[in-house]
Amino acid sequence: MTKTINLTLKVWRQQGPKDKGRFETYHAKNISTDMSFLEMLDVVNDQLTIDDKEPIAFDHDCREGICGMCGCVVNGRAHGAEKGTTLCQLHMRHFDNGDTIAIEPFRAMAFKAIKDLAVDRSALDKIIQAGGYVSVNTGGAQDANAILVPQEVADLAMDAAQCIGCGACVAACPNASAMLFTSAKVSQLALLPQGMPEAAKRALNMVRTMDELGFGNCTNERECEAECPKEISITNIARLNREYLNAGFFSRSI
């Protein structure tokens, strides 16, 4: 049943990358428990606008958990405490009347601050540019059914391919590593016959780029898996490591 609650928000406000930033307190009143977290922020922003204050900047687009654009740290948890949920799909029914909620941006060395809760995650695109693809041009592909792919393999590849590139894994990791993100793409393509030929090289290049961009190392903290809204498994990291070792071997042998 729908009911309404009142909340106190401590929101990170930061004018830009040069500003130091600080928490500001706001009161969110009469929030319907059927609202999503972002709709709650919309209500707060409407009030700020009317009160002649600057609304809180935050990224979002699809609002259905698939584009990966939204994401903040809510009470210390990336995308909030609900398992397998993006911030846009987190509903206010998971909060109680009178709660205080702390809202901060995803923080990592490789994510530059933009404003308030919005950060620059273009480093994730750069990791993909380093090899997150199969090197085929448009046109001339053989019939789609020419190569059979066992159903289990296709399913495993799909599990990994579901990554939405939100960066929560990075924000959750004590080392700000992007290993879960990187391994998801490496796994998807290494599992499928189409991606296999480049698998080792891909792993090597993507991990190298990840390091260069200032993401940390993976020391098996498993925070990434716990916070990932798409429940990407860390077994993908093991698969990446295998490909990576192969690559080392491979590069020595040429």
Binding site: D42, R63, I128, N137, A144
Partner: protein
């Protein structure tokens, strides 16, 4: 101005081959001398950017989001069509072509649709080669399912995230070209004007959404892949940043807008539940393969669904359309749901919902099978509604989902402004008055991978190269216009928020230009929009300033365009005195409440030309000629 669609001659099945042969080729060494701007990175823009770059063109690509991977295409769920006929159930290129023309209620251009069906198979081959993990059967072959409005299984899918996987495929291909230095990516940019020099599109003016800087970019051709305008209704299944701005500003620069009143209402969305709601969530219509739609037989029956016995349920789609049942096209399913609710049989707290019930499918196939097919959709439903759809039927209601109208393009996908191409949902070309499920993904990728890479060459070789730089006075004028518009909005300092105006506009559009329209309602809505627009320019409050990351300002610009564009939709709806597909005027219906077309007078594309602010647009007609498909009354009985 005469609208020449430049449809090649010859039999329909040979037109595209013949055209490709006749198009002049750009010498490989010359391709690198051409710069092409692509605006948008959805399926259309992503695939076009990658393919053009692979051919050797210098591509500059723009998108609003922080990464090209986040374009609205990402949220498509159900699947993508192709005429592969893998299941051996009687599909063919001809049948896909026929179904699309008929599904579009005979308001699409035959030649374009045929080409779409022809290249559909190449798309699947391409996507598999890219490593897209489509669903497979036990033998490792690609799996297919049937999808809204089709009697054959021609839909390929990747769980409930087909759009995501296809988009990531196109995105990856594009990232490969970024790494190769052939695509230069400009994320967090909003295109605010097309720059036209001597009648040809030669660049764009865009706002850097982080710094607020107005940037100029010149090129030899501009390709708009900026998606649909469903957000004119405020509540829709579109992503929040989906807009009409790019297309509308091109319209103001001379590009014709075709059939703007053709909008699609999707039957299976999660119902509206509060005024704070910011968007509607689609439940893929693949659910209609296994879910059965029903309402209580008796008005006002508010027992819980499990307490309503079989004999007191009305499976109204199965009853009215025995051969298609729950799989009737979207417009038919939507209108019927509305009709049931209008006569007081709707369910749920608001009465604006019908049931979509999986109990029979779960009994028949087992929960595992259903979970495998729709797991993520069920989960999404539960997250939003806090109700378990494995146990209680889902509640659904129609919502705005897709826009068939768009910028007018010829067979080459070029608008009437030479050098300005339009791809994907942003053009009007292939779906007529109603789009079939799983055909938008197909069209976006067809346009970007397999059509534009050929046709743009024809334009570039056939046009003397004019090296326009960003110092040209046309850029000065565009930039000034854009800057003035922004400053004017910021200076108003009124009392109502941008969203508040947007919501009001949305209500007007939904009530009078939505699922069912009347001439009186439309006329009234036109006045209401004019008044709302006038108020916007006096009373909107846009906080902050322009040299900043200012999301209110972004939205304000989009809503300002919607406030003009909404009126254009209404003008178009009023001009089309017939019903067809998604355009349903209550004055024109069959005895069975189906859309009643008037082929003698309205078998045409209505293309509108901007004639100046506040002035009536000028109507242009492209007659539609059907040589291969016989015009019939659509029937799904």
């Amino acid at each position: 101005m005469a609208l020449d669609a430049k449809i090649p001659g010859g039999p329909i099945s040979e037109k595209w081959d013949r055209h490709r042969f006749e198009l002049k080729l750009v010498n490989p060494a010359n391709k690198r001398k051409f710069d092409v701007i692509v605006v948008g990175t959805g399926l259309a823009g992503g695939s076009a950017s990658a393919s053009l770059a692979e051919l050797g063109y210098n591509v500059k690509t723009f998108c609003i989001q922080d990464s090209p991977r986040r374009a609205h295409s990402i949220s498509a769920q159900g699947g993508i069509n192709a005429a592969k006929n893998y299941p051996n159930d009687g599909d063919s290129i001809w049948r896909l072509f026929y179904d699309t023309v008929k599904g579009g209620d005979f308001r699409a251009r035959e030649a374009n649709v045929y080409r779409l069906a022809q290249v559909s198979n190449d798309i699947i081959d391409q996507c598999v080669a890219q490593g897209i993990p489509f669903a497979r059967d036990y033998g490792g072959l690609l799996d297919n399912r049937s999808f809204g409005g089709a009697q054959v299984s021609r839909t390929f899918y990747a769980r409930g995230q087909t759009g995501q996987q296809l988009l990531l495929g196109a995105y990856s291909a594009m990232m490969r070209q970024v790494a190769a230095g052939k695509v230069q990516m400009f994320p967090r940019r909003e295109m605010l004007d097309v720059v036209v020099v001597d009648g040809h599109a030669k660049g764009i003016v865009a706002r850097n959404l982080i710094s607020g800087e107005i940037e100029r970019h010149a090129a030899d051709a501009v390709v708009l892949c900026t998606g649909g305008y469903g957000n004119v209704f405020f509540l829709s299944t579109n992503a929040m940043a989906s807009n009409v701005t790019a297309a509308y500003r091109a319209y103001k620069k001379g590009a014709f807008f075709a059939n703007p009143c053709f909008t699609q209402i999707h039957p299976t969305c999660i119902p509206v539940h509060g005024t704070y709601q910011s968007k509607l969530t689609l439940m893929s219509e693949s659910l209609r393969n296994d879910g059965r739609v029903w309402v209580p037989k008796n008005q006002g029956d508010n027992r819980k669904p499990d307490q309503i016995p079989e004999s007191e349920r009305d499976y109204f789609l199965e009853r009215k359309y025995p051969s298609f049942g729950n799989l009737v096209p979207r417009d038919v399913a939507s209108r019927n749901a509305k009709e049931q609710c209008d006569i007081g049989k709707g369910v749920g707290e608001t009465g604006h919902a019908v049931y979509l019930d999986f109990a029979d499918a779960i009994n028949r196939d087992g929960r595992d099978v259903i979970e495998k097919k729709y797991g993520n959709l069920f989960q999404m439903y539960e997250k939003i509604m806090a109700e378990n759809p494995y146990e209680a039927p889902m509640m659904i209601y129609p919502a705005i989902h897709y826009t068939m109208g768009g910028l007018w393009v010829d067979y080459n996908l070029m608008s009437n402004v030479p050098g300005l191409f339009v791809l994907g949902e942003a053009n009007f070309s292939d779906h007529g008055a109603n789009r079939l499920g799983a055909s938008a993904l197909m069209q976006g990728l067809a346009d970007g991978y397999f059509v534009l890479p050929y046709t743009i060459g024809g334009y570039l070789t056939g046009t003397p190269k004019a090296d326009v730089t960003t110092g040209h006075k046309a850029f000065d004028e565009s930039e000034k216009q854009v800057t003035d518009g922004i400053n004017r909005m910021l200076a108003i300092d009124g009392k109502r928020t941008v969203d508040d105006f947007h919501k009001t506009l949305g209500h007007i559009m939904w009530d009078y230009c939505g699922m069912a329209r009347t001439n009186e309602g439309l006329a009234m809505a036109q006045t209401m929009i004019q008044e709302l627009r006038a108020e916007f320019w006096e009373n909107v409050r846009v906080p902050g300033n322009t040299a900043d990351f200012n999301q209110s300002l972004e939205r304000a610009g989009r809503v300002a365009d919607f406030l003009e564009f909404g009126e254009l939709m209404i003008i178009d709806a009023l001009a089309r005195q017939e019903s067809c597909g998604g355009h349903f005027n209550e004055k024109f219906e069959t005895e069975e409440h189906e859309a009643l077309r008037d082929d003698d007078n309205f078998c045409h594309v209505a293309a509108w030309e901007h004639t100046g602010d506040g002035q009536e647009p000028e109507f242009h007609k492209e007659p539609l000629v059907f040589e291969n498909v016989k015009l019939t009354q659509r029937s799904y009985k």
